[in-house]
C-alpha cells in the first residue's frame, strides 16, 4: 500500500508491504541508517524514533501504521537545538563507545527533554531505561543528558 508521512519535517510517500517494519522502510527505502537494529523485538532501543511525539521502537511498528504520522529519526533530531546539545555533551563527557546504541540514546534524551526540560538524575535513568548499552556502564550517558539539560536551560 502507498503511505505518506512527515519525516524529519519533509513529506514522504512510499509503497510498503503489509508485513514490512517501519525500521526497514526507514533504513532500506529511505536511506536513513542512523536508526539501528539491535534485537528486533523492542528490547534494546537502538531503533528508537519519535512518532507523533512519542518515543517508540521502530522495529515493532508495522510500516503502514506510519501513514499520516509525524516521524523524527536521529537524522532529524540532531538538526534540532536539543539534539545538538545532547550530541555535544555525549562527545565531551565520553558517553560514546562503540556507538551502535548512541543514536537511540540521543533520540530518547530528546524525547525526555520535550516532556521534562529539567530532569533529575532519577528521571534521566528511568527515561533511558528502555535503551541498552553494553559498553559504557551508563554513567557517562546519564551525565551527558544531565549536562545537555543544564546547557539548554542556561541558553533560555
Amino acid at each position: 500500500m502507498n503511505i505518506g508521512f512527515t519525516l524529519n519535517g519533509r513529506t514522504v510517500r512510499v509503497e510498503v508491504g503489509p508485513s514490512e517494519r517501519l525500521l526497514d522502510v526507514l533504513r532500506e527505502r529511505l536511506g536513513l541508517t542512523g536508526t539501528k537494529e539491535g534485537c528486533g523485538e523492542g528490547e534494546c532501543g537502538a531503533c528508537s524514533i519519535i512518532m507523533n511525539g512519542m518515543l517508540v521502537n521502530s522495529c515493532l511498528i508495522p510500516a503502514f501504521q506510519a501513514d499520516n504520522s509525524k516521524i523524527e529519526t536521529i537524522e532529524g533530531v540532531v538538526e534540532t537545538a536539543i539534539g545538538k546539545a545532547i550530541v555535544d555533551s555525549f562527545a565531551e563527557c565520553g558517553a560514546v563507545q562503540c556507538g551502535f546504541c548512541t543514536p537511540g540514546f540521543v533520540v530518547a534524551g530528546a524525547a525526555l527533554f520535550r516532556e521534562n526540560p529539567d530532569p533529575t538524575e532519577e528521571d534521566v535513568r528511568v527515561a533511558l531505561s528502555g535503551n541498552l548499552c553494553r559498553c559504557t556502564g551508563y554513567s557517562k550517558l546519564v551525565e551527558g543528558v544531565l549536562i545537555a539539560a543544564r546547557k539548554l536551560k542556561e541558553r533560555k
Binding site: 532500506e28 523485538e41 556507538g99 551502535f100 543514536p103 535503551n131 559504557t136
Partner: protein, 758 residues
C-alpha cells in the same frame, strides 16, 4: 601535549549522529541477502540434505552445502576441528548446515524452508562434568579433553600438611553472552579480477583474512579485509567473524554478486561464542597468621562442540587461577572439555573471570575461618615488586596493586563504611566486599606467534598525519588513544592526526585485537615508525644546524636543537622542505612483543610481558524478604601504567564494571539438559540497564611500564573480572550467606537466606 589529556574521541560525533557506517548500513548494486540454515539438533547424523528445490525458488541465486565450498571446509582457530558448514554430523543446536543467497529476505527464508534435511539424532553429552563418564559419547580426540594445563610449584602435600588452616570449596559459573549491540555481519564483494573484498564487524582482520582464503581457495593476495565501524565485541568478535566472513565469501563467489549476511539477534545468541561455564574446586592452606602456604586448584571448562579458542582461554584461566598472591606451593589442573553445545570462546577476561571468582571468594572464606579481615589477608599475601608469581615469574616493574588497594580502601572509606552499614536495622541488609585481581597484558606465552604489530604512518605534504594499524577499534577508543600517541611522538596537535579504518592490505598482520593489547602493541609499532620518520625529518635540517639528527627534538609543533631550543623550525616548514628533498615520509613500523616463556609440564615461566592490577570494592543491599541483591556503589581502582586518555580509561572501567555486574547478578544463558537454548533473546537474557547500574567511582593508578608507549599497559578487560567476587564477598558481609554459583539471582539467594547457609 596530547598524551594524558582527555581529548574528545574522533568517532564520537559521527556515531552519536547516526552517520557512522556499520556493515548493516552498507548497500551495493546487485547486493544479495545471505542466510544460514542451522541445526535444530544438539547432535545427529545428516542422512539427507537436498537443496534442489531451494535452488529453484525465484530470487534465489545460490544454495550451498559443505560439498560446494571451493576451498577447505574448515575454520582454523587453535586446531582445525570446526568446519565452515557441517558435514556428516551436526554437534550443537545452531550449527550451520547450508547457505543461501537471495534477492530478498523473504526469498531467502523460503529457500531455507525448501531445503530437504533429515537428521537422525545421536547420543549427546551436555553436562561437562560427565565428559569421562562411560555412557557419554566421544566428541573430541579419545577423551573429550580439548586441553589440559598444569601448574606445579613446590611440595604441595607437605605445604598442606604444615598449614594451620585449610579450606576446600567448589565454585560454579555459567555462560555469559557478549550482547554487543551490533550483531555479527559481513558484506563480501567479488572483485572484477577474481578476488574478494570483505567488509564487516570484527576484532581480528588477519584471522578473517586467513579464513576467507582457506574457504574460498583464493590466494591470500587476492583477499582484502576491511573492518567497518564495529558495534561492540568484548571477545565475541575474535574468532567467529571468520565463520561469518567465510559464509558471505563463498556465497558471493558462487552468486557472482555482493552478499550481505547479518545475523539476527536470536541466531547470534544461539550460534556465536560465549564465556565458558566453569566448575572450579579450590583448596587453600594458610598459617594461623594468614600467610598463604598452598593452593590446589582443579578447573573444568565447558568448551562446547568444537575446540575453537578453548585451549588458550583455559590457559589464561590457569595462569590467573591463584589470584595476585605469593603462594609457595601450588598444584593446578585445568581441563576444557567437549559438549554438544555452542562452542565457547573469547570473552573479556578470557577464562580468568571464572577462576578469579573462585580464588577471590575462597580467599574471603579462608580469612573468615582464620578470623581475619578480608583486606588484611590480601595485604599480607598480595604480590609486590620483586615477588614471584605462582608461575615463577619475577615481577620487575609496574606492580601497582598496593596503590590500588590503598586508594580503593581510602576512597571507599572501607572500614567506616562497613561499620556504618552494619549498624542499620531492617529487612534490607547492607555490606561491603572486596576483590584484588591482576591481568596478564597481551597474548603472553600462550600466543607468542601472534605477538607482533605493524603501523603505517604517513606525513602528508600539508603536515597533517595519516596513520593506520592492524588492531581494531571496537568502541574502546583505540583510534583516539593511538592518535594521541602519534601526536605526542611528533609534538603536533592531536587534531592534525587521523587514524584510517583497518584494511588488511595497508598494514602488516598485527595479530588479533584481544588480550587488552591494542594500545600497547600498536602503540609500540607506531613509535617505531614515528622514530624513523623523525630521524628522516631531522636529517633534513641537521646539516644546516651543524648537529647530528639525534640532537634534534620534536615538540611544540616544531623541531628544535635539544641543547638550544631557540634554534627551531616549524613542523610544517620542515615537512615542506623534506618533501622538496624527496625524503621518505610514509613508512610502516613493525614491532614484536618482548619475550615470554612457558614450560607446559610444570606450568612455570614468564607467562606475560607485564601485568595490570585492580581492586574492586562493592557496596550491596540484600533484601532478605525477596533475595534480591542490588549493588549500590562500586569503587574500581585500576593500575593501567599510564592513562593516555583518562576519560576513555574511566569509560572502560565503568563499562567493564557494569558488564561484570551483569555477570554477577542477572545474566544467565540457559541450555537445557537436551541441548536446547532456552532464552536466546535480549528480552530473556538480562543485561543491566540504566536503572540497574550503580554509582561507580573509577580510580586510575599509574605504575609505568617501561616497554609500553609512554608507560601504558593494556587493561580493557580487567574492569569486568573482579566484580562478581567483590559482590559475592559483599553479600556475605551483608547477610552472612556465601554464594558460590553465579549469577546471584533471587532464586539462588533466597533459599540460602532462609537456611542461613554459610
Amino acid at each position: 601535549m596530547a598524551v594524558g589529556k582527555s581529548v574528545v574521541r574522533v568517532d564520537a560525533r559521527s556515531k552519536a549522529t547516526g552517520k557512522a557506517v556499520y556493515v548493516a548500513d552498507m548497500f551495493m548494486p546487485g547486493m544479495l541477502i545471505g542466510k544460514v540454515l542451522r541445526s535444530e539438533f544438539p547432535r545427529g547424523k545428516i542422512v539427507r540434505l537436498d537443496v534442489k528445490k531451494a535452488r529453484s525458488i525465484h530470487g534465489v541465486h545460490a544454495v550451498l552445502t559443505a560439498d560446494d565450498i571451493p576451498g577447505k571446509n574448515v575454520c582454523h582457530v587453535v586446531f582445525e576441528d570446526m568446519p565452515l558448514l557441517a558435514t556428516g554430523e551436526v554437534r550443537y543446536v545452531g550449527e550451520p548446515i547450508a547457505l543461501i543467497a537471495a534477492e530478498t529476505e523473504a526469498a531467502a527464508q523460503l529457500a531455507i524452508e525448501a531445503v530437504e534435511l533429515d537428521i537422525e539424532p545421536l547420543g549427546i553429552l551436555i553436562d561437562p562434568e560427565k565428559y569421562n563418564s562411560p555412557d557419554s559419547p566421544i566428541l573430541f580426540g579419545e577423551d573429550n579433553i580439548f586441553a589440559h594445563h598444569k601448574i606445579r610449584r613446590g611440595d604441595i602435600e607437605n605445604a598442606f600438611a604444615q598449614s594451620d588452616t585449610i579450606i576446600e570449596r567448589v565454585y560454579r559459573t555459567t555462560y555469559q553472552e557478549h550482547a554487543y549491540l551490533e550483531t555479527q555481519g559481513m558484506l563480501a564483494v567479488p572483485t572484477a579480477e577474481g578476488g574478494i573484498d570483505v567488509y564487516g564487524t570484527m576484532q581480528c582482520p588477519f584471522y578473517v583474512h586467513g579464513a576467507v582464503s582457506d574457504v574460498t581457495g583464493l590466494a591470500q593476495s587476492r583477499v582484502r579485509i576491511v573492518q567497518t565501524t564495529t558495534g561492540g565485541a568484548f571477545g565475541g568478535k575474535e574468532d567467529v567473524p571468520s565463520l561469518v566472513a567465510g559464509w558471505a565469501s563463498v556465497l558471493a563467489l558462487a552468486a557472482k554478486r555482493p552478499v550481505k549476511l547479518i545475523l539476527g539477534r536470536t541466531e547470534d545468541f544461539v550460534s556465536m561464542s560465549k564465556r565458558h561455564p566453569s566448575r572450579v574446586e579450590v583448596k587453600l592452606g594458610a598459617t594461623k597468621d594468614g600467610k598463604l602456604t598452598a593452593a590446589g586448584i582443579d578447573i573444568l571448562f565447558d568448551g562446547g562442540a568444537y575446540a575453537t579458542l578453548s585451549p588458550v582461554v583455559l590457559w589464561r584461566g590457569t595462569v590467573h587461577s591463584c589470584g595476585p598472591y605469593r603462594i609457595p606451593a601450588v598444584r593446578v589442573d585445568a581441563r576444557a572439555v567437549a559438549t554438544n553445545k555452542v562452542p565457547c570462546g573469547a570473552y573479556r577476561g578470557f577464562g580468568s573471570p571464572q577462576t578469579l571468582f573462585a580464588i577471590e571468594s575462597a580467599i574471603d572464606e579462608l580469612a573468615e575461618k582464620i578470623g581475619m579481615d578480608p583486606v588484611r589477608i590480601r595485604e599480607i599475601n598480595h604480590l609486590r615488586r620483586g615477588d614471584e608469581t605462582v608461575t615463577g615469574q619475577k615481577l620487575g616493574e609496574s606492580v601497582g596493586l598496593q596503590e590500588c588497594l590503598e586508594r580503593a580502601i581510602t576512597e571507599s572509606d572501607y572500614y567506616n563504611l562497613r561499620e556504618k552499614l552494619h549498624g542499620r536495622n531492617g529487612p534490607v541488609k547492607r555490606g561491603v566486599g572486596i576483590s584484588t585481581i591482576f591481568y596478564g597484558v597481551g597474548l603472553g606465552a600462550g600466543g607468542t606467534h601472534f605477538a607482533r604489530s605493524g603501523a603505517y604512518v604517513g606525513i602528508q605534504p600539508d603536515g597533517s598525519v595519516q596513520f593506520a594499524v592492524g588492531t581494531t577499534e571496537m568502541g574502546q577508543g583505540m583510534r583516539t588513544v593511538l592518535g594521541q600517541i602519534v601526536a605526542e611522538a611528533f609534538g603536533i596537535p592531536f587534531e592534525r592526526v587521523y587514524c584510517l579504518p583497518v584494511d588488511s592490505s595497508r598494514v602488516p598482520d598485527s595479530g588479533p585485537t584481544v588480550a587488552s593489547r591494542a594500545t600497547t602493541m600498536s602503540g609500540r609499532a607506531i613509535l617505531v615508525a614515528c622514530s624513523t620518520l623523525k630521524g628522516n625529518l631531522a636529517g633534513v635540517i641537521a646539516p644546516e644546524w651543524g648537529v647530528s639528527p639525534k640532537a634534534i627534538t620534536f615538540g611544540e609543533n616544531c623541531a628544535f636543537r635539544t641543547d638550544n631550543p631557540a634554534k627551531r623550525i616549524s613542523w610544517n616548514d620542515l615537512v615542506e622542505r623534506a618533501f622538496a628533498q624527496k625524503v621518505v615520509l610514509t613508512i610502516v613500523g613493525y614491532d614484536s612483543s618482548p619475550p615470554t616463556s612457558w614450560d607446559e609440564d610444570s606450568g612455570q615461566g614468564d607467562a606475560y610481558v607485564i601485568y595490570a592490577w585492580a581492586v574492586n570494592v562493592a557496596q550491596v543491599a540484600v533484601d532478605t524478604r525477596t533475595g534480591v541483591v542490588r549493588v549500590e556503589k562500586l569503587w574500581a581502582a585500576h593500575d593501567v601504567g599510564k592513562a593516555i586518555n583518562p576519560t576513555l580509561v574511566e569509560g572502560q572501567i565503568e563499562g567493564g564494571s557494569v558488564q561484570g555486574l551483569g555477570y554477577a547478578l542477572t545474566e544467565e544463558y540457559i541450555i537445557d539438559k537436551n541441548g536446547i537454548p532456552m532464552n536466546p533473546r535480549l528480552s530473556f537474557y538480562h543485561i543491566p540497564t540504566t536503572v540497574d547500574a550503580p554509582e561507580i567511582h573509577p580510580i586510575i593508578v599509574e605504575s609505568a611500564y617501561s616497554e609500553g608507549p609512554f608507560g601504558a599497559k593494556g587493561f580493557g578487560e580487567q574492569p569486568l573480572m573482579g566484580i562478581a567476587p567483590a559482590v559475592a564477598n559483599a553479600v556475605f558481609d551483608a547477610a552472612g550467606i556465601r554464594l558460590r554459583e553465579q549469577p546471584f539471582l533471587p532464586e539462588r539467594v533466597w533459599p540460602k537466606l532462609k537456611k542461613g547457609a554459610r
